[in-house]
């Protein structure tokens, strides 16, 4: 039984690694001259955030994963909000 759990943990971590690499390619792919690229990058960052949360759960760190799961949407919203009302309107 423990061996199956080990295999599942390994599979989860490899899937998380693939998603993280795809996110890394995604956020450096576009140049800054694309209009409103920041929203796209915040969106892409969500994929890596969730992949890291799943990886942390597989690494037996549920408190860390739950804390980040609750904090990261507020942070992403704050960034997008600041850009919309602050930097973009200048």
């Amino acid at each position: 039984m423990a061996d199956i759990i080990t295999l599942i943990k390994s599979a989860i971590m490899i899937i998380a690694a693939v998603l993280i690499v795809l996110t890394a390619f995604g956020i450096i792919r576009y140049k800054d001259d694309v209009e409103r690229i920041l929203y796209a990058r915040v969106h892409m960052l969500g994929v890596a955030d969730m992949a890291c949360i799943v990886a942390l759960l597989a690494l037996n760190e549920p408190l860390l994963a739950v804390t980040y799961f609750f904090l990261t949407p507020f942070a992403s919203h704050a960034i997008a909000n600041a850009y919309y009302y602050g930097e973009e309107s200048r």
Binding site: I27, L38, C52, L64, T67, T72, A82
Partner: protein
């Protein structure tokens, strides 16, 4: 009848877990470099986006280091990063937006 050595089988399973941890660590290192590149773009918001991504990448790397090498204080640093990273991002975003 084929005899399977249980210890050898367990060793193979442990290796799979360790290999996947190393793969995840390499992916996170690549992601951390990508987020640093994003953080050095000219707008302030882009810097915040990069640092938010960097904080979770470093926290996950530290948890992996704790698991692989058994360095206990890495977990404390990861907790501090996970809590203070998003909170700092929110605070700085409020400043950019204007009170």
């Amino acid at each position: 009848m084929v005899r399977v050595d249980n210890n050898k089988l367990q060793g193979v399973k442990m290796d799979i877990l360790q290999i996947s941890e190393y793969i995840l660590m390499a992916a996170l290192a690549f992601y951390a470099i990508a987020t640093i590149r994003i953080a050095t773009r000219k707008t302030i918001s882009m810097g915040i986006v990069g640092l938010l991504g960097l904080s979770i990448a470093v926290a996950t790397i530290l948890i992996l280091v704790n698991n692989i090498y058994g360095i206990a204080f890495c977990k404390d640093i990861a907790y501090a990063l996970v809590i203070l990273g998003p909170i700092g991002t929110i605070a700085f975003s409020k400043v950019i937006r204007g009170w």
